[in-house]
């Protein structure tokens, strides 16, 4: 049998028939199927879900009120009443660690959302317009990248009054450069495609071409980088809070719980103050990195190493 001539046979193919023959999986399912095969990524997902659950159910899990300090109970070693011991002011380390999961994860996630919004918009504009605009915009990104982000964070954090929201603000305005670079690169290569040319020829607005036609195709690298950004934000927040410029006591964060351990005698005599919050930071960053790597392999098999 000869192939049907598309010019002569213009009848529409039977929709139901097509669905039966080719089971078209949507993108999410395909990604999930590939993601599941990566053991490390699944472990990461489990650890991260666990941390999220802790953060959500902290009030029910915590044995003590994390904001109450009992000064006569300071520096107690781990026991039944205080499984992780108590800190320098008599706060229960376990309860504070659980509540800190809320604070640290919220900061990481919210800062990521803002970072993505700024980075994607900036990168899309630079990539779409190209030429001199792109050149100037990317030089600015290069310059910001050359300033070690921790120094930039410290300066801005020291100018402002530290709190949870200023921490989020500081992380957002310093963290978007990586995203903008990736998005710009994707846009530069995508905008030469024929379908974008067609959209332009049909007289669509520039903003709708960027956000409706081009950006959805750059979703894979954006997702991966956004995931890895959460880990970066959590580490940066921990660093800022550790130095006393991020989240302020009594609000617990994994970083500021470690501040007391800077004192050598505290560190030697009461090491539990330093160990548990540190392990949580590592678990959070590690699990997110694993998820990010898994997503990269699942979303774009070509990038697999």
């Amino acid at each position: 049998m000869s192939l049907s001539n598309p010019v002569i046979n213009q009848e529409k193919p039977n929709q139901k028939h097509v669905e039966k023959e080719y089971k078209i999986e949507n993108r999410f399912l395909v990604t999930w199927r590939r993601f599941k095969k990566n053991k490390a990524a699944v472990v990461g997902l489990i650890i991260f879900s666990f941390l999220l659950l802790i953060a959500i159910f902290a009030p029910w899990l915590a044995p003590h009120d994390p904001f109450v300090y009992e000064l006569e109970d300071s520096y107690l070693p781990p026991s039944w009443d205080h499984p992780f011991g108590t800190d320098d002011k008599g706060g229960d380390v376990l309860s504070r660690t659980l509540y800190a999961a809320r604070v640290s994860l919220t900061i990481g996630l919210v800062a990521m959302v803002i970072t993505v919004a700024i980075g994607v918009t900036y990168g899309a504009i630079a990539g779409y317009f190209g030429g001199a605009i792109d050149n100037i915009m990317m030089r600015i990104v290069d310059a910001i990248n050359s300033i070690p982000s921790l120094f930039l964070l410290l300066i801005i954090a020291s100018i402002m009054v530290p709190s949870v929201w200023t921490t989020i603000f500081v992380l957002s305005i310093t963290g978007w450069t990586g995203m903008s670079r990736i998005v710009r690169g994707e846009i530069l290569s995508l905008k030469r495609r024929d379908y974008v040319e067609a959209a332009r020829a049909s007289g669509e607005k520039k903003s709708s071409i960027i956000f409706y036609h081009v950006l959805p195709n750059a979703i894979a690298p954006i997702t991966v980088l956004a995931t890895l950004d959460i880990a970066g934000n959590i580490l940066a927040e921990a660093g800022l809070s550790f130095l006393g410029l991020g989240v302020q006591v009594p609000t617990p964060s994994w970083g500021n719980m470690l501040t007391a351990a800077q004192d050598l005698t505290t560190l030697l005599s009461y090491p539990w103050i330093a160990i548990y919050p540190g392990v949580c930071i590592i678990l959070a960053a590690l699990s997110i990195n694993l998820i990010g790597d898994g997503l990269r392999d699942a979303l774009d098999p070509r990038m697999k190493q």
Binding site: L154, L258, I282, A285
Partner: protein, 320 residues
């Protein structure tokens, strides 16, 4: 080649220019200004601040202040004066450079010594237990905050086991004592290396995997060369090239890491200077240090790019 280097140097100039603008904006945004010093003196009420502002040029529009500041910076290397002790910021920075360079240099050296063989071996023996162990370390190393690993190293190796001193750069102040210096240097340098080694190992491994897939390696194997020769004579050379770029790439991270490490180990370097300045709200010193570090990063990247072009003849000079 020469034209490539010149072009690359010229590209760095707008970068430095933008960094200087960012620094200046942050400095004017910071609370307090140089006239605050006069309020610390007794009888401050009788001082005519407007006269001093005029004398210092603070009454002029910002762009003129910026140009004057830039001129002083470029011509005299003047980064302003510390609010804390009124010494030139540049002088304070310069006396801290050797300590930071020693720490970072040793850290880089240690990280190379371990990262390169580990990355190569993990790639050659892909999916072996060694590979999994290496990748496990890499994932962990990327997730551990440097200040936490510094605290733990301090706790275990110097407080519990008493193998190394807990901080400082030397104990023997009378003369130069190499052994004393090394004893103080090893722990902070290893902690710094622990962090930067992870991404180097990962980079080395994937770069090696990339190279051994290529045709010329298959040819070398087909010729009957021993595996040793194939890896070390043919593959290694090309796999090592990208490592040069990551050195420039990691510089900002390294300065950040050394800020924590210098602070925890009481190492008298640039990072500690910046940290102390932040708590004294000595904005001139913070910004001076930041500006200085950023310029070092730009120069470091420049050197890395030029080096890369020298070693890799395949690089295109024509574009970018």
């Amino acid at each position: 080649m020469t034209s490539y280097i010149i072009r690359r140097v010229l590209q760095a100039i707008p970068l430095l220019f933008i960094i200087s603008i960012i620094s200046f904006v942050l400095m004017t945004a910071a609370p307090g200004d140089p006239t605050d010093i006069y309020f610390m003196v007794e009888d401050a009420g009788s001082v005519d601040i407007s006269y001093i502002k005029e004398y210092l040029g603070l009454d002029q529009p910002y762009y003129i202040q910026y140009l004057k500041w830039l001129k002083a910076l470029v011509l005299d290397g003047n980064l302003g004066f510390s609010f804390q002790d009124n010494r030139p910021v540049m002088e304070k920075i310069v006396e801290r450079i050797p300590a930071t360079l020693t720490l970072m240099g040793t850290g880089i050296l240690i990280s190379f010594i371990f990262a390169i063989p580990m990355g190569i071996y993990a790639a050659v023996k892909r999916n072996s237990w060694f590979d999994y162990l290496t990748m496990g370390y890499v994932n962990l190393g990327l997730a551990v905050p440097s200040f936490w690993i510094a605290l733990m190293a301090l706790l275990v190796f110097s407080l519990k086991l008493d193998l190394f001193p807990a901080g400082g750069m030397r104990e023997n102040y009378d003369q130069f004592d190499l052994l004393d210096r090394l004893r103080h240097l090893i722990l902070p340098a290893c902690v710094l290396a622990f962090g930067i080694m992870a991404s180097k190992t990962r980079y080395m491994r994937s770069s090696m995997l990339e190279v051994i897939r290529q045709d010329y390696i298959r040819t070398a194997r087909a010729k009957g060369l021993s595996e040793r020769k194939v890896i070390f004579k043919h593959a290694l050379r090309n796999a090592l090239l990208p490592i040069i770029t990551i050195l420039g790439f990691q510089l900002p991270n390294m300065f950040a890491g050394s800020l924590f490490i210098e602070n925890i180990f009481a190492w008298p370097g640039l990072g500690r200077l910046a940290y102390e300045a932040i708590f004294l709200r000595d904005y001139q010193t913070i910004l001076g240090t930041t500006m200085f570090v950023s310029v070092m990063v730009v120069i470091g990247n420049l050197i890395a790019d030029v080096l890369y072009a020298v070693v890799d003849p395949r690089i295109q000079y024509g574009k970018n």
